[in-house]
């Protein structure tokens, strides 16, 4: 992915642009496969503990705010749309549209993180749901609830970290796009960054029901 920044569109090790393009997206897909496994460790642990400690996990889940979770899901989906449109703009060589969509995507990403931070994590911390830092919950199944929040913070934390990394990548792209670096011949970097961004979105698509919903809200 990084190698498409070279001064000519075609890096020296490739025969043609087609090969270079395919290599870049294959590389990104493989990277996403590693990400699947990275989150997979957490998902495996979550699956097991939730089945072992169902009541506590349900209690924990009920302590989260579904509305905020749903809003954040929507925010991320919007950002995925703008990202997809950004890639399209790059493909068509529309510099201005690309810039707009990149900025929109980053703004939505920022919104997601701010909502998470200011409305959720802060609240959880103040309410005493933060294991290790401030955990004061003392209802039934307190220990399982604590375990639930361990997962909650580990999973959403790692996810948020990925968002931050994604925003870093996007800001590099923004600068390059500003300089008119991309065009129909050369948009691999935008496309691969897009793949990454959508992947992070997908992770949230699973985190949302697993953490907020399956405890049963009725």
């Amino acid at each position: 992915m990084a190698d498409s920044h070279a001064s000519t569109p075609l890096a020296h090790q490739f025969e043609d642009l087609e090969q270079q393009h395919e290599a870049a997206s294959l590389g990104m897909w493989i990277f996403l496969a590693t990400e699947v496994m990275f989150f997979g460790g957490l998902f495996a642990g979550y699956t097991i503990y939730r089945n072992l400690y169902m009541p506590g996990f349900d209690v924990g889940s009920h302590l989260l705010n579904v509305t905020i979770g749903a809003v954040n899901t929507a925010v991320l989906i919007c950002s995925s749309l703008t990202m997809a449109l950004g890639v399209r703009a790059a493909q068509l060589g529309k510099r201005h549209a690309l810039l707009t969509f990149l900025i929109l995507t980053m703004a939505l990403g920022l919104a997601f993180i701010l909502i998470k931070l200011a409305l959720e994590w802060r609240h959880d911390y103040l309410e005493g749901f933060a294991p290790g830092l401030n955990f004061t919950f003392a209802g039934p199944n307190a220990k399982s609830v604590e375990l639930f929040f361990c997962f909650y913070f580990a999973m959403t934390g790692v996810h948020a970290l990925h968002m931050v990394v994604g925003m870093g990548v996007l800001s590099v792209l923004l600068v390059l796009a500003w300089k008119g670096h991309f065009g129909p011949e050369r948009y691999n970097a935008v496309e691969t960054a897009g793949l990454y961004w959508h992947f992070v979105d997908i992770v949230w698509i699973f985190l949302f029901p697993l953490l907020y919903l399956i405890g049963g809200r009725y």
Partner: protein, 540 residues
């Protein structure tokens, strides 16, 4: 060789195209990066080896001849961590793989050269963190980082060591990613999958493991770190966490990781055996597919490290059965290599000696793996020196032998110089003898019940331990000899020429050392791999 040998000095090639530290540290040439790795892992090997030497010294006496138990624990931890994560896993992939993957498929470089350089920097950063952990007082978790010991009870430098391994893991992932993309997308015209040298199949299979396994180790170590720092206890029994879950996640990576170590060696052996017997490999597709089969099945057996851990015995039974399954493709390989020798024209230059040593020692080590996969027997020998014997037979007798064989074989290609073959053969013999003396007694110790990770032990085990320590000193000398003559050869070795062994394969068609672009023009492949029957001079 008929080809006029042009001295490495008179030509422009990847080594002399540019000079100065900067030209090395900022290089994106896969060959130079391979050399960077070669230097760094050699360093790590001797650090790990020094720890082993101190351990063996300590075990000469039942009450510990040298160090306190606390220090001994740090020694084996750092020995395991360095040898596994900073020597063996990067050894063949990052050195020989980096050098050879593009050359063998006829490409100018890997698909992502800058990523490749980044991998090396990440690797060194991880190494630096681990070395910091050693210098700042050591780490005593063992290479397995079992919880809750590592998360709650130890106050050594667990964080920096775990972080170091975590970081180095990304280097491994990115290297694997680079190889897979390169092999898929950048093969020269005519280089079909079934014309690829078996080394490439092995590298491909290895990369799959690196890509799909390593991230799980990363997240697991991250969770250990979280638990240590913030008591966000996912494995902590105090909140109902289960330490056995940690073991599942750890071995999900670390069992396949042992095949990250052996598969590349197997690939090297396929190259060596064919070259020095002047024969095609016997059963090409069986050898090729067994690599992929090993990679795939290796992900299904991790629970065999946990037979007595409190894991459900039903799970134990499943894992036992699958562990036996993974032995079959290994058996296929061993038999095919042996059959390749049949009616060959076998010469005994040093690389071949290492290759034959590999086959023998890998067989002995692999077969003891069957003991461990057997539930009732593992109940007795788990966490004893029998296990230590098993994995050193495979890793030192197998993987390291393969690595050394490969380094000797491609040394002329890498440096353009030949080393003294007599010394090399002597070193191979010393290593073989020293190795067996070191590790065979450990099987016996293990069945007698001597637990591993023991700084002090009951006196009746002393005789065998002294034998083992004596062997280790021979082994240590054996490893120092190649270091000396390899360095010597850099300056004084005879000029090698493009193909000193009369080997087949694209990498031998280009001069030694190769030019930066590897080939003057992109080669076109018209033959199967190892076309030793074909007339001399025919391209292949």
């Amino acid at each position: 060789m008929a080809t006029a040998a042009v001295g490495p000095e008179t030509r422009v090639h990847y080594l002399n195209v540019d000079y100065g530290i900067k030209s090395w540290l900022l290089t994106t040439d896969h060959k130079r990066i391979a050399v960077l790795y070669l230097v760094s892992i050699t360093l790590f090997f001797f650090v790990g080896g020094a720890a082993a030497a101190l351990m063996r010294l300590n075990l000469i006496e039942p009450n510990g001849a040298l160090v306190e138990p606390a220090t001994y624990n740090k020694l084996f931890s750092i020995h395991g961590i360095i040898m596994v994560f900073f020597f063996m896993i990067p050894s063949i992939p990052a050195v020989l793989g980096n050098f050879l993957v593009p050359m063998m498929i006829g490409a100018r470089d890997l698909a992502f050269p800058r990523l490749n350089l980044l991998s090396w920097y990440i690797f060194m950063a991880g190494g630096a963190l681990c070395m910091y952990a050693v210098i700042a007082g050591g780490v005593d978790t063992g290479w397995t980082f079992y919880t809750p010991l590592s998360t709650t009870y130890l106050n050594s430098n667990v964080m920096s060591a775990a972080l170091g391994v975590f970081v180095a893991g990304f280097s491994s992932i990115l290297t694997g990613l680079n190889f897979v993309v390169t092999i898929h997308k950048m093969r020269a015209p005519g280089m079909t999958w079934f014309r690829m040298p078996l080394f490439l199949w092995a590298m491909y299979a290895t990369s799959i493991i690196q890509i799909l396994g390593t991230p799980v180790l990363a997240i697991t170590l991250a969770l250990v770190g979280l638990e240590r720092l913030f008591h966000v206890g996912i494995f902590d029994p105090a909140v109902g966490g289960d330490p056995i879950l940690f073991q599942h996640l750890f071995w999900f990576y670390s069992h396949p990781a042992v095949y990250i170590m052996i598969l590349p060696s197997m690939g090297v052996i396929s190259e060596l055996v064919t070259c020095f017997a002047k024969k095609r490999i016997f059963g090409y597709s069986f050898v090729a597919f067994s690599s992929v089969a090993i990679a795939a099945i290796s992900f299904l057996v991790w629970g065999h490290h946990m037979f007595v851990s409190g894991q459900s015995i039903y799970a134990g039974i499943i894992f036992s059965a699958l562990s036996f399954a993974v032995a079959i493709p290994s058996a296929i390989k061993v038999f095919n290599w042996t059959a390749t020798l049949y009616k060959g024209s076998i010469s005994y230059q040093a690389p071949m000696l290492y290759a034959l040593g590999f086959i023998g020692l890998f067989t002995m080590g692999g077969l003891t793996g069957l003991f461990l996969a057997t539930l009732a027997v593992d109940t007795h020998v788990h966490d004893t020196y029998f296990v230590v014997g098993h994995f050193h037979y495979i890793m030192v007798g197998g993987a390291v032998m393969g690595y050394l064989g490969g380094i000797h074989y491609w040394w002329p290609k890498i440096t353009g110089r030949l080393y003294p073959d007599g010394w090399a053969r002597l070193a191979a013999a010393i290593i073989f003898i020293g190795f067996n003396l070191t590790f065979f007694p450990q099987y016996m110790l293990g069945y007698l019940g001597m637990p591993r990770r023991y700084a002090v032990y009951p006196p009746e085990f002393q005789v065998l331990n002294v034998m083992s320590s004596a062997g280790a000193s021979i082994l240590g000398v054996g490893y120092l000899i190649p270091l000396v003559y390899m360095l010597w050869s850099l300056r004084y070795g005879p000029v090698a020429g493009p193909n000193p062994w009369g080997a087949k394969g694209l990498e031998w068609l280009t001069p030694s050392p190769p030019p930066t672009e590897n080939f003057e023009k992109t080669p076109v492949v018209t033959e199967e791999a190892y076309a030793y029957g074909a007339k001399e001079g025919a391209v292949g």
